[in-house]
Every structure is written in structure tokens, then in C-alpha cells.
Amino acid sequence: MPVLANLTYDTAHLLDAGMLVLSFALLYQRRLFGVLKIYAMQAVLLAAAAAWQAHAQDAPQLYITAATALVFKGAVIPIALHRIIVRLDIHRAIETALGIGPTLVVGVALVSLSILLVLPVTAASAALTRESLASALSIVLLGLLMMITRRNAVSQVVGFMSLENGLILAAVGVKGMPLVVELSIAFEVMVAFIIFGIFFFHIRERFDTLDVHDIERFRGERS
């Protein structure tokens, strides 16, 4: 069997796996700047994966998705968040989340779960779609896990955005998915980001901290 028997499939698989590895890196990275860097790298890989799918499926509209991922998620958003962190002076914050070991174990369990869930039900679909979808679901679930285990608002947001990376990976991996969805996601990320930005400033004004744990002390249900 030649080494590059199926270049299309292998490249897509490599990019998916790269994104998945970065999701794990997000789980154990504690420093906020580190988290942002990994997120940016994941976004760049996502752009590459989308571009590769555009090439493989001969679907030029996916290049737009790739471009928006590269520009917004790979550059604009990390830089803006970086500035917010500097301005709020929280970059020294070392987070106390669930221990690294247990988090990674749960992460591995989630990846196995998504493979077990996706592969059997998509037996009829193309191998490329199936593998992408399994990786995408893993990334979604790992993003969710990151949101649960982090208490700092910035890293929760990054968890949410990495979850969206997974969703876009799923959308581009499915053959012939209409453009509506990709556009809406790109749009949504922008809007969501603005909203998050507004939130940060308000939270900053009122609480002087971005630790969600602190906000929760002000629960409305006090007597």
C-alpha cells in the first residue's frame, strides 16, 4: 500500500486530530495567556481544516468559513481578549480548577464516548464525514468540560469558543451542508464576542474581579 493512498482523508484526519490535541492542551493550561495562544492555534487549524474540506468537496463557499475563522478566531479575538486581560490586570491569576489528572481522565472518557456514539450511527456516511464528526463532537464535549472546570470568566469564554470551533468543524465536515449555517456561526461568534466584551466591562465596573465564583456570592436568593 502506498504511503499517501488517500491524501484527502489523511490530511483532514490529521487536522482534526491536531484540533483535538489542542483541546486537551486547553484543559491543562492554567495561565490565561497560554490559554489564549492555544485557542488561537486551534482556530488556525480549524481554518486549515475548513480550507481543506473546501478543496476536497469542491465547495468554494467553505473558503469563506476558513477565512473568517483565520481572521476572527485566529487573530482578532485572541488579541482583544489579551488586551482585556492586561487592562484588567488579571494575567497573573493562576486558576484553581479541578486537578489536571482527573480533568484529563474525564476528557479521555468523553472522547471515547463521542467515538462510540458517532461511529455506529453514521455507518452509511463517508469515512471522512464520520471521522470528522467524531472529532468534532469530542472537541465540543471537551469545550464543555473546560467551561465546567474553570472558574475564571475569560477561560470559560475560551471554553465556549473552542466548543464552537468543534461545531464549525462538524458543519464543514458534512458534505454539501448549506452555507446558511456557517455564515450564521461566523456571525454569532462576532455578536457573542461583542456581548462578552460588554459583559467584561460591566463585571469589571461592579465586581473588580472576573472570577465567576465571586459573582455567585451575590445570588439573588438572599433573605
Binding site: 453514521t122 468534532a136 466548543l163 450564521s184 439573588g220
Partner: protein, 477 residues
């Protein structure tokens, strides 16, 4: 251009206009005028049904929900006009924020109507997403600690819900694509339904689980309900009214659309048991939680979770009668709960607090307002002759015939919830009046209008309405 475009264009244009209007008094009037126009437009499809297009659809199922949504949005805009004047007077809101508020109100109505009339799964998703964004801004309007926390929690939880729903949508497309080919058709709801029988059942099941959990977060089903009480309690009261009266219904509507696809496929797992479990757990959880609430808006927010639980349970049971009950309960709950929030909004303004313990003897100090609240609570508690009684009675009888054990659990939940409502109502409405007496002009027309409708439905349901509910109940399978 069909009438659906008009229905959507009015709130869209109004939102743009309101974003530019500096005077909040004028803005409130424009808000009311736009809502009234939308209401009239929403009645036109009853006379002449517009054609189905790839993106927009009016069918038997959504035609009445569109009208209901426009109606509640209209009465709430009336209530809101009076409510915000007081909030500005006491300095809780500044006119600058109200520009946002009014524009967002119409934008929210737009997303609700778009979600209801969407024929494309992608459009539906975008609309529900837009509804989250607009309401987050409104929930955080007061900028207090609690309001910001509520908005943050709402945004994070519903953001995750929305994300899962999108994954479900992608899976749904993946299930449809082999049968219907690539492209928009495989995401068009009216095209999906006739072909649903040929879809891969395993993929359909997986898609539905994601969609149920995703959109179910917005319905406020346990265990994903945590955002709901906070968002209701900390935002302005008109927003609590539209959250309970519109958003929860529309989110449930999206779940039901997908349920219909599953029901059309004989090999797919029945969506019923999942919905029954989630509905029942919401009902039981919320009815016990009612006892511990000290904040009046939070209290009624838990009551909304309880009722969405009952409705989800009814649709989960399925069959013509249970679906009929579910549809009726959706309508009744939406009308009653928004009426209660109108009354509660004025009560908390007059008393200057939302603490239940500080609000006493309303019927003696504020007879009209007090009795409006009493009637609302009596209606929502499910006492005859109000319409809620009828729908709850139907849910119970149909489930007793088919699954006595489940029905017993529903009955237990209802009784526990009933106890909490009666207990709190006594303190709120009767006895010696306490608490502040701030001057506030009240607009109770919307509340009484809703309650009269609920009462009428309880005594006499008009024939056309019944036959319509029956048609839709059959569609839902």
C-alpha cells in the same frame, strides 16, 4: 411579498426606528403601535393562508402560536409603557438604557416570530440564537450585581444549549442528506416531513437527543433550568412576562417540530419517554422548590418551570388527547403567567420590594391590583373555572388511563405546587397591609384581558378553536 414578510418586517423596522429615538415616552408609544400592527398582521393568515416558501411557512401548527405570540407581545408592550415610566421616576433606569430596551424588545419579538414561521432548520436556529442575545441584554438592564450575574448565567447556559442544538441540526441534515440530496431542501422542514420515514433512524435518534437537550435548555427543563429563575427575577418585569409567555413556548415549539420528524419515522425510538422524564422531573423539582422562594418573581418563575414540565410531559405522552391538552395548556399558561407578571410588576413597584415577606394584605391596601393577583394565582393553581384547570384535568385523565403510575406522580407534583401557591397567596393577598405605598399608576387592562380569556376558555372553548387544536394534535402524533 406575502403576509409573513409583513409580520416579520414590522418588528424589524420598529427595532431600527426605536434604536434611533431619544425620547423614551415616544419610544414606548411607538413600541405599542408596532406591537398592535404586528398583532393585526398576525391575524391575516387566518383569512388567507400564505404559500409555503423554502424559508417561511405558515401551517396549522404555528398559525395560532404566531397569533398568540403577537397578542402577548402587544399586551406586554402596553404594560411595559406604564412600567418603565415608574422605573425612570425612581431612577432605577436612565433614558439612555431605554433606547436599548425598546429596540431589543422589538428585536426579540422579531426573533420569536421568525422562529415560529421558519421553514428552514438553520433559520430556526439563528432565530432562537437571536432571542438569546436580545434577552441577555434586557435581563442585565439594571446593571446590579444580581442582574449581571443572572445575565451571565443565562448567557453561558443558553449558549451551551444553543451550541448543542446546532450540533443536533447538523446531525439532522446528515440524516436527511442521503435521502434528499445535498442542498437547502435537506434542511427545509416542510420537505423533511414527507421523507422522514426513510431517514437513518439511529442518526435521527442521536440528533433528537441533542436538539431536546439544546432547545430544552431554553424551555427551562430540569436539570437545565438554572438560568430561568435568575433571568426572570433580576430583569425588568415586562421581560419576565415575555420570557414566560413567549420564549418558553417558542423553544418548546422547536422541540415539537423535531418530535414530529421522529414520529414520522417508524424505526426511530419514540421521543415520548425522554420528554416524559424531563417534563416530570421539572414538574416535581419546581413544585418542591416553590416552598423555599422568598422573592416573588423567582417564585412565579419556578411556577413556569413547573408548567413547562406539565406541557412537556403531555406532549411526551402523545396521542390526540394528551397533545390537545398540551396545546391548550401552552396557551393558557402563556396568558395566565404573563397576566400574573403584569400584576407582580405593579405590586413590586408599589411596595418597593420583591421580597414576599414584605408584601402583605394586598386586597385591602390595593383592592383592584390585589384581586387581579389573586385571580391570576387561582387560575395558575389550576382551580376551576379557569382554563388551566381544564388542560391539567385533561393531562391527568388521559395519563391515568394509559400510565397510572406516571399520572400519580403528576398529580403529586400538581398538589405540592398547589399547596405552595395557596400558602404564599394567603400572605400576599390577605391580612393586614404592610410594606411601602409608593405612588404608581397601574395599567391592569392587559392583566384582566388575559384573565378573562383564560376564564372564557375554561367555561366555553369555541368550536373552531377545538377543531383546530384537534387537527394539530393529530399532526403531532
Amino acid at each position: 411579498m406575502s403576509i409573513v414578510h409583513v409580520i416579520l418586517a414590522i418588528p424589524a423596522l420598529a427595532a431600527l426606528l426605536l434604536a434611533l429615538l431619544p425620547s423614551y415616552r415616544l419610544a414606548a408609544r411607538v413600541n405599542v403601535a408596532a406591537s398592535v400592527l404586528t398583532l393585526f398582521a398576525s391575524l391575516v393568515p387566518f383569512i388567507r393562508r400564505p404559500d409555503t416558501t423554502p424559508f417561511l411557512l405558515i401551517d396549522d401548527f404555528n398559525i395560532y402560536l404566531v397569533a398568540l405570540t403577537a397578542f402577548v407581545a402587544c399586551t406586554t408592550s402596553l404594560f411595559s409603557a406604564r412600567y418603565i415610566v415608574h422605573e425612570v421616576e425612581i431612577g432605577r433606569l436612565v433614558p439612555r438604557y431605554l433606547r436599548y430596551y425598546h429596540a431589543m424588545y422589538q428585536a426579540f419579538v422579531l426573533t420569536m416570530l421568525l422562529a415560529l414561521t421558519a421553514n428552514n432548520l438553520g433559520t430556526l436556529w439563528v432565530a432562537i440564537e437571536g432571542a438569546t442575545l436580545t434577552t441577555v441584554l434586557m435581563v442585565g438592564l439594571y446593571r446590579t450585581h444580581a442582574a449581571l450575574e443572572a445575565a451571565w448565567k443565562y448567557f453561558i447556559l443558553c449558549g451551551v444549549g444553543i451550541a448543542l442544538a446546532l450540533f443536533g441540526t447538523i446531525l439532522m441534515y446528515l440524516a436527511a442528506e442521503p435521502v434528499m440530496g445535498e442542498g437547502l431542501l435537506a434542511m427545509t422542514w416542510s420537505e423533511l416531513l414527507p421523507h422522514a420515514a426513510q431517514f437513518n433512524p439511529a442518526l435521527l435518534n442521536l440528533a433528537f437527543v441533542f436538539l431536546l437537550v439544546g432547545y430544552g435548555t431554553k424551555v427551562g427543563l430540569a436539570p437545565l433550568h438554572a438560568w430561568l429563575p435568575d433571568a426572570h427575577a433580576e430583569g425588568p418585569t415586562p421581560i419576565s412576562a415575555v420570557l414566560s409567555g413567549l420564549l418558553l413556548n417558542v423553544a418548546l415549539y422547536s422541540v415539537l417540530r423535531f418530535k414530529m420528524l421522529l414520529a414520522a419515522n417508524p424505526l426511530a425510538v419514540a421521543p415520548g419517554p425522554l420528554m416524559v422524564t424531563m417534563g416530570l422531573s421539572s414538574l416535581l423539582l419546581a413544585s418542591f422548590m416553590l416552598y423555599r422562594r422568598r422573592d416573588i418573581k423567582r417564585f412565579f418563575a419556578y411556577s413556569s418551570i413547573e408548567h413547562m414540565g406539565i406541557i412537556t410531559f403531555a406532549f411526551g405522552m402523545g396521542g390526540p388527547l394528551a397533545n390537545f391538552a398540551g396545546l391548550l395548556h401552552m396557551t393558557m399558561h402563556s396568558l395566565t403567567k404573563s397576566a400574573i407578571f403584569y400584576a407582580v410588576g405593579h405590586v413590586s413597584q408599589i411596595k418597593g420590594t420583591q421580597r414576599i415577606a414584605d408584601i402583605r394584605g394586598l386586597t385591602s391596601s390595593q383592592p383592584v391590583l390585589g384581586w387581579a393577583l389573586v385571580l391570576g394565582v387561582v387560575a395558575i393553581a389550576g382551580l376551576p373555572p379557569f382554563g388551566v384547570f381544564m388542560s391539567e384535568f385533561l393531562v391527568l385523565t388521559t395519563s391515568f388511563a394509559r400510565a397510572p403510575l406516571l399520572a400519580a406522580l403528576v398529580l403529586a407534583g400538581l398538589l405540592v405546587g398547589f399547596g405552595a401557591l395557596v400558602l404564599r397567596l394567603q400572605g400576599l393577598a390577605f391580612g393586614e397591609g404592610t410594606g411601602g405605598e409608593k405612588a404608581s399608576s397601574v395599567a391592569l387592562l392587559p392583566a384582566f384581558l388575559h384573565l378573562i380569556l383564560v376564564l372564557t376558555a375554561g367555561i366555553y372553548l369555541p368550536g373552531p378553536l377545538v377543531s383546530w387544536f384537534q387537527t394539530v394534535a393529530k399532526l403531532l402524533g
